[in-house]
Amino acid sequence: MTLLFQLLVNGLIVGALYGVVAMSFVLIYKASRIVNFAQGEFLLIGAWTCWWLLTSWQLPFWIGFPITLAFMLVFGIVLQVVVLRPMIGEPIISVIMVTIGLSIFFQALMKWMFGVFAKPFPTIFASPTVNIFGLDVQTVYVMSLVISLLIMAGFGWFFKYSRMGLAMRATAFDQQVAQSLGISVRHMFAMSWAISAMVSAVAGVTVGVVNGVSSALSFFGIKVFPAVILGGLDSVAGAVLGGLIVGVLENLAHYLDSQWLNWGNMYEIAPFYVLIVILMIKPYGLFGTKDIERV
């Protein structure tokens, strides 16, 4: 029973991270209608940058981390302006393929620069575990949960109250109307990529601290799909919920598997079975808006 409980807690923590990544995925989709297959690479690049700053330059975490975020901000803008901007108005397959191309390009680049083996982060916390309600939880997990919640709250505030967040929502709702209100749509596209890259990097660093940095991080970008499809592609709240559900679900599948089924590897594959089922039953997810097409 303890194992089950532990797995559920793990699931919620990992799920919160999925939620964060899914949120930044949805941000790009909402703003610019681009499905970003390179989301996982944002995590990867962010984590490696932070790792590099911390190990090669011996910077303390509280300096290295903001530098990483600043770098990802610039990186997101540059990527949007150089690669994605020429693709505006192209058919959906071209845009998808560009992000897939980016994904394998950066994945290979990172492998080339930093090697294929997982490298541990320098220790950030003095005590490895803390005791919460009689459960031993790793400090980094607590940190990751706190960070995830902070980011979610931040997103909530950003879209509800900040000027840019409102402008971004307006852009997502109707680009022409937004433009006529004096919002620079190109600016909003670039910013959505920048913020998405930054937030993903936070998730990347968190996972990196827990598991070490390796190219396996980019698998997060794939795991995001079940989460966003479950929640609905254009719903931020749905993304969070979808992330949590997928996180808990894969841990439950793992539990079932280790206790009774012994198929192995259910942890990785279960979300994809769920994905197929959702797509068959409710393709627009729990909170997504259904496309209504008029001729």
Partner: protein, 357 residues
């Protein structure tokens, strides 16, 4: 009209038959026949290395053509093509190993089996489009890959499985020289089939679904039927390609059919040209030769300052992957219609040659 030997400077077609014909002129047909005849001579003067590349282009080209029918002609996106390719490879090996079915028969049967699996994953395709379908096929990729590593009875599990060589009337096509002919025959047959499909009523329906699915539906085209059919055809081609691959290498391992391989297939058709039959083959050739060219460049650069700075020898595997990604992006940004479009432009230039304005 059908008997003129050169393309006239303009479009003077008066019948639909002239518009849909495969070879517009006598010359183009003769050239195609000559090309195949020249290929027949290849094993006589090519060494093993080049033959191996040609065979690769052949079986990958068949699978790429299948993907092009799905993506380029029907406008449905699949990111799981390598998994279907792999399924074809395993089913052909399984059929010939477990049931003693002759390989020559097992290859088409493997195509049929892969079609069945493709249709199964194509059920969501009947309802979904574009992006959602892309994600569904992504799931198919991972589920099938997982199935390969788990189904010992089918794939031999992690150890992989041995495949019999291709035999016909007691003669084993187990060398590069002889297997080249098997692949060549399959390539010619499959490409002619696809070309004819696209000239038919069903082919035009597929293109209509791609161009505007709502209008297509209003015109009476059954979307569900044609989307699923396209998925099935694409899997069939993937299965045939995979089966040829299995009997060429005579060994299939579970590791090969990753998502990177699927992306490579997509890269092939984007580079070759979406919605172009011969483009699929050009793109495949490009994709197969790309690593070879890169290898040649690295060898040429070895010992120089660039080599010393970047340590190219160890990096070649990653550089290949990077090149694949980069080539896909560059083609999409600068030449979205692919090599086939380039080829057409070259032909158009010569059509009007001395007076191009």
């Amino acid at each position: 009209m059908a008997n003129i030997s050169l393309i006239p400077c303009g479009d003077f077609k008066t019948r639909y038959a002239a518009d849909t014909t495969i070879f517009p002129t006598r010359t183009s047909r003769n050239f195609a026949i000559l090309g195949v005849a020249l290929l027949l001579l290849c094993p006589a003067f090519m060494d093993r290395y080049w033959l191996n590349l040609c065979i690769q282009i052949g079986y990958l080209g068949i699978a790429a053509l299948g993907l092009n029918i799905l993506v380029g002609f029907t406008g449905q996106i699949s990111i799981g093509h390598a998994a279907f390719f792999g399924f074809g490879a395993f089913s052909s090996a399984w059929l010939s190993n477990s049931f003693g079915i002759p390989v020559a028969l097992a290859i088409p049967l493997a195509g049929v089996m892969t079609t069945a699996v493709g249709m199964l994953f194509g059920i969501p395709a009947a309802r979904l489009k574009g992006l959602y379908l892309a994600i569904a096929t992504l799931a198919a990729q991972y589920i099938l890959q997982d199935f390969f590593s788990r189904a010992d009875w089918f794939t031999g599990g992690t150890a992989g499985t041995i495949a019999e060589p291709f035999t016909l009337f007691g003669y084993a096509f187990d060398t590069d020289e002889s297997f080249f002919y098997v692949v060549l025959v399959y390539v010619v047959v499959m490409y002619i089939l696809a070309t004819n499909l696209m000239r038919s009523r069903d082919g035009r329906a597929l293109v209509a679904v791609r161009d505007h699915y709502l209008s297509a539906e209003i015109m009476g085209i059954n979307l569900t039927k044609y989307r699923t059919m396209s998925f099935g055809i694409s899997s069939f081609y993937a299965g045939i390609g995979g089966a040829l691959y299995a009997h060429y290498l005579q060994f299939v391992s579970v590791e090969g059919f990753t998502i990177l391989f699927s992306i490579q297939f997509l890269g092939m058709i984007i580079i070759g040209g979406l919605g172009s039959i011969m483009g699929s083959l050009m793109g495949t050739a490009f994709m197969v030769l790309l690593p070879e060219v890169m290898q040649a460049i690295t060898t040429a650069l070895s010992g120089t300052a660039i080599d010393a700075a970047l340590n190219l020898k160890d990096a070649i595997a990653f550089l290949r992957e990077m090149a694949i990604g980069l080539v896909i992006i560059l083609f999409l940004v600068f030449e979205p219609d692919g090599l086939a479009h380039r080829w057409k432009q070259i032909k158009a230039y010569w059509k009007l040659y001395p007076f191009s304005h």
